[in-house]
Amino acid sequence: MTATNNESKDYAPKILAFSTNNISDPGIDLAGSSHMHYPTSAMVFSMPCTSGIKPEWILYAMEKGFDGVFIASDGEECAYLPDCAERSAKIAEEAQELLREKGYEPKRLRMSAICSVCAEPFTNQIKDFYNMLKNLGPARKG
């Protein structure tokens, strides 16, 4: 039997969130320090810069059991790469293409700029993404 959108009440979409050590991770830390809640199935992995994410990792995460991937990018604030926003956008596009090819909805990847004080935007984004994924159902069908 295949999973339908509303089947499993206790289906908690797993989200892998990529953040950056200097910009978005402090924003995500701030959400925690302020005791702002978001689903526990969202897990964060911090890197120097989102321009270093391989699109293949996003596909791999989905194939292994994550239901969505969120990129908390630096936006225009990246201290490493002046064209970080364009690079990250290109990586997201390529990843979405990979997802499409393998039968996953491209909207299972979401990217948003999260700054070092963006606690509320982060929790709002994750909650919204979580609800969207919940409606969409698990990434791995059947």
Binding site: D25, P26, G32, T40, M43, P48, S51, Y60, A79
Partner: protein, 580 residues
């Protein structure tokens, strides 16, 4: 299964973690993980006692990896790296897991969920740690010389500061004369001393020091090398251009600002009698008696504030920032004007007065001396026209009198222009300096690393970084001196080895990565008759931007390798007992 011997420590953080996460269950869930030799909980992982216990475990249990699940790495990454180092474990085989800010504190409402998540996060870190290799910091020897670019008040003061620390200085000035903006100014606040004489004093000090060399009419043409050891070619203009090569350990950029140049017709700019603040200052400073414009005594002055600063977002390439010096400079100019002609009427048309700190006294003084202050709305700027009588006429709605329409006849209208970044594309290109959104040079961190740039060994100070007055500029110049000296006096720097590395056996020599690195850290080299990419360890910033762009998947970022990320993803997804 991993044959590693990893020690895992899960912190209660008093209760900050253990009140919301069952840390004992986390410990039980991970103690059987492949590669885990020791798994413990601790009331405070950062306490001396626990640090000591970790160090003993590392030595007695022959651990080759360390994982601490506690607070954000921003707090204690270096604490635990140091524990590893002290115990003889390579510090880069340590991984910190943030189970406080990114787990217990974010999920105070869901103990089950938070515990489940903590187990996954710790497993992810164990998986990453199992694939770490020992890395050595990159040690670079430094030469005790500094290149200072720009001989305004910041550059001059920096040069003297460095020279007094025994560091030789090459000071490069693009224009024919040292001194910058301050060198042209008359009386300054608060001591009433001339800008000109301040600069003369600094130049006098400069001359007394043999270890400073000043080049005027000169600029940077080329740069190679990296922190601790830069080779820079200077181009000195003269009858014939000459090139001078210098070898320095660091570079301080103090190139200053440009005055905002109003657009044609912006607040009447272009009409006779509409001046910018620097033009009006020059007029005042050069008037011996009563200030005169076009042969006629100036009786009425209208100042319009915030010209070129705090622009509305609709303006093309808007300068959204406040230039912070101009309120003070304009108020000060009006006091000087009144001293020269006590009968002068002065009207200040402002949006918000920002005579912060000690300058507030000057603002009070100006009001007491009889200056009028009128406030206009952000979206209701004053209009400057030539009236029928040939006089300049300024009209505005004054918010202080509830929107009363006011017309002012003025002999001179002063546009209080702000600071804009100097256009120096060559310098940006040669030094690879990052620009902020406001197009001024950008520091790494405004509070914690205010004069360092992403380019190691290149510092910024003064108003090239953003609007500053001379007091603030000199303070930042001396802070750049300290930062430079801290690496040059030690004789070496060590850089983080978490940088890119090329698997040269996989590299197909296409060279695509070379063009993608803005720090010029990737070069092609010959290896066994093949052209392959290689990373310059001193130049690589460790951003990883080249990693996804390699068509052959031949680049990895140390600490974030392809194998580590995939293995971590697997570990994050492994079901916890709770869900089984």
């Amino acid at each position: 299964m991993s044959d590693r011997r990893i020690g895992v420590y899960i912190c209660h953080c008093g209760g900050n973690i253990s009140d919301y996460v069952d840390v004992d269950r986390v410990r039980k869930a991970v103690e059987g993980e492949g590669g885990v030799a020791v798994a413990k909980t601790a009331m405070f992982a950062c306490s001396d006692a626990t640090q000591q216990e970790m160090a003993s475990d590392i030595q007695e249990q022959h651990l080759d990896g360390l994982v601490v699940a506690s607070c954000s790495p921003k707090l204690h990454l270096h604490t635990f790296r140091d524990v590893a180092r002290r115990a003889g474990l390579n510090p880069f085989q340590y991984t910190q897991v943030n189970v406080r800010e990114q787990c217990s504190w974010a999920h105070t409402d869901d103990r089950e969920g938070a515990t489940d998540k903590a187990i996954r996060l710790v497993r992810g870190a164990i998986a990453r740690t199992a694939l770490t290799e020992p890395l050595e910091p990159i040690i670079i020897e430094t030469v005790p010389r500094v290149l200072v670019v720009g001989a305004g008040i910041s550059g001059l003061r920096a040069a003297i500061g460095l020279a007094d620390l025994g560091i030789s200085v090459y000071l490069v000035e693009k224009s024919p004369l040292a001194g910058g903006w301050i060198g042209k100014l008359g009386k300054m606040y608060p001591h009433g001393k001339d800008g000109k004489s301040l600069i003369a004093q600094l130049i006098n000090e400069l001359k007394k020091r043999e270890n400073i060399t000043l080049y005027t009419n000169a600029e940077i043409a080329e740069k190679s090398g990296s922190i601790g050891n830069f080779d820079v070619n200077l181009r000195v203009r003269g009858q014939e251009d000459t090139t001078i090569s210098v070898n320095v350990g660091s570079i301080i950029v103090a190139t200053g600002f440009d005055a905002y140049q109003p657009e044609e017709e912006e607040f009447g700019f272009g009409l006779d009698g509409v001046l910018t603040l620097p033009q009006f200052k020059e007029l005042l400073d050069s008037s011996a008696g009563r200030p005169v414009f076009n042969g006629r005594e100036i009786k009425n002055v209208a100042y319009i504030y915030c010209v070129g600063s705090r622009q509305q977002p609709e303006v093309e390439n808007a300068n959204r920032y406040c230039s912070r010096y101009c309120c003070n400079a304009a108020v000060h100019a009006s006091i000087i004007a009144l001293e020269k002609n006590p009968g002068m009427h002065q009207y200040h048309l402002y949006r918000d007065m920002r005579t912060y700190g000690k300058f507030e006294l000057m603002y009070s003084q100006a009001r007491e001396m009889g200056s009028y202050f009128l406030k206009f709305a952000d979206d209701g700027p004053p209009v400057v026209e030539r009236g029928y009588d040939g006089k300049l006429q300024v009209s505005l709605k004054d918010l202080l009198t509830f929107g009363e329409e006011i017309e002012i006849k003025a002999d001179v209208v002063v546009l209080v222009t702000g600071m804009v970044p100097r256009k120096s594309p060559e310098l940006v290109d040669v030094l690879k300096l990052p620009l902020g959104r406001d197009r001024f040079f950008n520091e790494i961190h405004p509070k914690l690393r205010p004069v360092e740039t992403m380019v190691d060994g290149v510092y910024i100070c003064g108003s090239c970084q953003g609007p500053k007055n001379s007091i603030e500029s000199v303070a930042s110049a001396l802070s750049a001196v300290t930062q430079s000296a801290s690496i040059l006096k030690k004789g070496y720097v060590d850089l983080e080895p978490l940088i890119a590395s090329v698997h040269q056996d996989l590299c197909n020599g296409c060279g695509e990565c070379v063009a993608t690195c803005p720090y010029a850290a990737i070069e092609m080299e010959q290896q066994q008759g093949r052209s392959v990419a290689a990373i310059n360890r001193a130049l690589c910033k460790g951003c990883g931007g080249c990693v996804p762009l390699c068509p052959a998947n031949a680049i990895d970022l140390k600490g974030y390798t392809d194998a580590q990320v995939r293995s971590m993803i697997d570990a994050l997804l492994k079901e916890t007992c709770q869900n089984e």
